[in-house]
Symmetry: C2
Subunit: 524 residues, 2 copies
């Protein structure tokens, strides 16, 4: 039934000018209006209302904060946070109009997910597009993340989510039949295999455009560690040129707009420690597919303090990765690895860069676990070449490393990206140190990945490049009473003090007898 | 194993002074630090980090916003939002210290709920205490609300939640054996029975200290409507005195700190339209128990556009209310009522106050449905008296109303609270009007509660007291083509235009034949 009323004409409130409010609201568009502003009264706006701000053909949705201080925003102004200001792309003082916003188009689908329903392909596409365009408030974003976590997305929903995340951003095309990549699900400090796998595999001739994130909750990401050696923030054209010439690169992927919705989702997943299988698979695969990979080797470490703690759990996760990869036409090789302890000796950007360079130089002091793991991962990728027989990859990788070709390849990539002049024989470590010693003689029977990572972070890593933890002994090694277990490096007294407090609470090391050393979960 | 390190000393960062940043962050403590501030660099703070701010013995947790404008906050200052400033309770310029905050104590319990676990009594107590003390960020708050919504709290968890919410605030004690109250779960416009039930039951001599909320998503709450007649924001001592003298009051409960965690939870439930049974029961019962009620009559309306749409659903909700009430030693009488359409004629504070006064005066123009429903609810409460026989309540209530004693009681309460001089025979309605007319002859077979409420809100209610919708016909009544179905009142042209657009989308009225009028779900 249609009522007998006059047709509607749209009303908008104008007469306001734009003002940049330099507050970093971290992936949320916030608009600031003065409480006495005409539009607040007339529209019945209240704190946290959703408003639409329009200027010069651009329109954004923002969450409203009501302000009582006219030095922040006056009665004839609308302030917007830095993210929102950049999106509107007009100068301060520009006339803008504001109106009560209809909620983002995908909100009904969000409400259905909150109520536990299964969503379809279009639902995920709309939700992820709204998220990538910052149309969701932090409340709506959190509701989506928690609802997906709880109702355990089924595998087809994970595929829809992955596909939607790829579609939300840029997708690179290298115009190559074979583009390889590797990724680890994380959680193991010192696990810097990418910086060895890339030069080995690129030296073999495969195209390997590796883009990495910076550390989110860990003491160093690949981008942070590579940045010790070379520039990692490269314009896209330069990155393409380096890959063309040297087959590989080791760059930061943050500016490339690959799966941008992922970065927004992480802003709420991180404070809630949410890392559900569905969200992990969608996050990792969407980034790799958007980066143009055709073949991916995925490292799932397993151990008592790793993200994955049992073999059945690892196998479930592997099957989910494989299902989604197959639907997305990505060739995937999952390897389950030893995650009982940190890899290598150093934890923190400079310390990890040192370990990587020692392996590349075949230095006898190089950590053997980092070398072996990197060779095995590189071998798997080399076997993606149509001309390499299954089983031959490892020895090809070892020949490339032993012959110095991997080192030469790394030097070429470092020089192309912009060398930093890092001297790994005299690395610039944090000058303040703290030694944690064995309280009694024994054999190392446990090294807690989480606690070592936490200590390295408190010491300043990754922000302070030379900060971190340098392990002196590893699992299964005997120690005497008073022998140094590890050394903490920091640059600031407050950082060292925080690390000292954490060490005092729990050193992360357990000592016992040789028989108590946990067996290796996997043979990889 | 304890490591061999020196005992820790706590470090704090001082040298900062406090500044009030007049931004209304709506139940979230926010701290503002300049990006170039020493402490941001030294502690590795990033946007949305949790920080602890201490001043003069007070300590609060706040979510960090990083600022790039030193006119908002300088490098030697820490800004805090209005909520946080009030909590610290010191003047601007006061020295403060800030440090990275440990997450609130209850976060591990929150994470367990996110992962679908059942929580115990202590878990709920810790979570709700942290929420009431504004220690949760909006992200953590949303995660709690969504996790509880999805995993469908079992009834014992709802009891634990209710108990924790009562414990989070003040609990009134009237030193009376019998303290009655009534509540409706909401969703029915015009349903202002409390303003009739209170004077009737108080005239009978029962103690009835009614505190109400303002409208959250509806066009008028009881507090908004009562405020047309009298002052509703009363100091606690005055409120007590009025109840002692007149047995009843009709006041706003917002300042009494009754179940304060509820108000914080509502700030995220509202934008997500979350109204799960468990959260509804805990919210309503915690407020009533904190207000000191010993006997409660609860109104659950049922109808096609009510909150509850089927009898089995109403019965499930009734059982949950009854279980929790019994565990909390509250005597509860649930009544399931006709929620097929708005109650009374007017929707909006002034219009609803007019309807209430017409009923109290036994005016022939008074809406009969409002009169009948109020008498039945009042009768149920009167039967709580030990000297009234079951079944006699209704006629006692009717005698009180018909005799004018209810009107006299209301006048006494209004005068005691502070009369506003409202003339209900010439109510000050919004001067701008819009009539919605029947497009054809027929019988009214449906009135959409949600759409009528939405139109009244867009017209300005409850903020604009005289705005709203005045219904001219109700369910089952015949209309001629062109006859007025309802009149919209507004005070501002923009409001009227928004209401007009909503009416054009859907008038909320359905016409048909007498046989199509939906039957009454209940006989109450």
């Amino acid at each position: 039934m249609q009522p007998a009323v006059e047709p509607a004409t749209t009303t908008t409130t104008t007469g306001l000018t734009l003002r940049r409010v330099a507050i970093d609201t971290y992936h949320e568009n916030v608009a600031y209006l003065h409480r006495d502003c005409e539009v607040v009264r007339a529209e019945g706006f209240q704190a946290l209302s959703k408003v639409e701000v329009r200027a010069n053909g651009q329109r954004i949705l923002a969450t409203l904060n009501v302000v009582d201080d006219s030095s922040i925003v006056g009665c004839n102004e609308i302030g917007v946070s830095e993210d929102a200001f950049a999106r509107l792309d007009v100068a301060g003082g520009h006339p803008v109009s504001v109106s009560p916003a209809e909620p983002p188009e995908s909100i009904p689908a969000l409400f259905r997910k909150i109520n536990g329903e299964r969503l379809g392909r279009d639902d995920f596409r709309h939700i992820i597009r709204d998220i990538a365009e910052l149309r969701y408030s932090k409340i709506e974003l959190t509701a989506f993340v928690v609802a997906c976590n709880r109702s355990e997305l089924d595998r087809e929903e994970v595929y829809f989510l992955t596909e939607a995340m790829v579609a939300s951003g840029r997708r690179l095309d290298w115009h190559e039949p074979l583009v390889v990549d590797k990724h680890c699900i994380g959680g193991i400090p010192g696990n810097r295999t990418s910086m060895l796998v890339v030069p080995i595999v690129a030296a073999h001739g495969l195209v390997f455009p590796k883009t990495s994130s910076r550390a989110i909750t860990s003491p160093a990401g690949t981008a942070d560690t590579m940045e010790v050696l070379a520039n990692v923030e490269l314009p896209f054209e330069q990155l393409t040129g380096i890959v063309r010439q040297h087959h590989g690169c080791l760059a930061w992927g943050g500016a490339a707009m690959l799966s941008p919705a992922d970065d927004v989702l992480i802003s709420v997943e991180r404070p809630l420690s949410i890392d559900s299988p569905g969200q992990m698979v969608a996050s990792i695969l969407s980034k790799k597919i958007a980066a143009g990979a055709t073949h991916l080797v995925l490292d799932i470490p397993i151990g008592p303090t790793a993200k994955v703690r049992s073999m059945p759990e690892a196998q479930r996760l592997r099957r989910l990765f494989e299902y989604v990869a197959q639907r997305m036409h990505l060739s995937l090789d999952v390897v389950i690895t030893d995650g009982r302890q940190p890899v290598g000796r150093g934890v923190g950007p400079v310390l990890e860069a040192r370990d990587v360079m020692l392996v590349l130089e075949n230095d006898p002091r190089a950590p053997d676990d980092l070398r072996q793991k990197s060779l095995r991962l590189a071998g798997r990728l080399i076997e993606c070449s149509p001309d390499v027989r299954g089983g031959d990859g490892f020895s090809i990788a070892r020949d490339i490393l032993d012959s110095g070709r991997a080192l030469a390849q790394m030097r070429a990539i470092v020089q192309a990206q912009g060398e930093r002049g890092f001297d790994h024989h005299h690395p610039a470590l944090g000058a303040l140190t703290l030694e944690v010693k064995a309280p009694a003689a024994g054999v190392v029977i446990g090294i807690d990945n989480l606690q070592i990572a936490q200590i390295a972070r408190l010491a300043g890593a990754p922000k302070v490049r030379g900060a971190g933890v340098d392990l002196c002994v590893k699992l299964g090694e005997p120690v005497a009473a008073g022998e140094v277990l590890y050394r903490v490096h920091a640059s600031y007294p407050a950082d060292l003090e925080f690390a000292r407090q954490a060490c005092a609470r729990a050193s992360g090391f357990s000592l016992g007898t040789a028989a108590q050393v946990p067996h290796v979960f996997v043979e990889f």
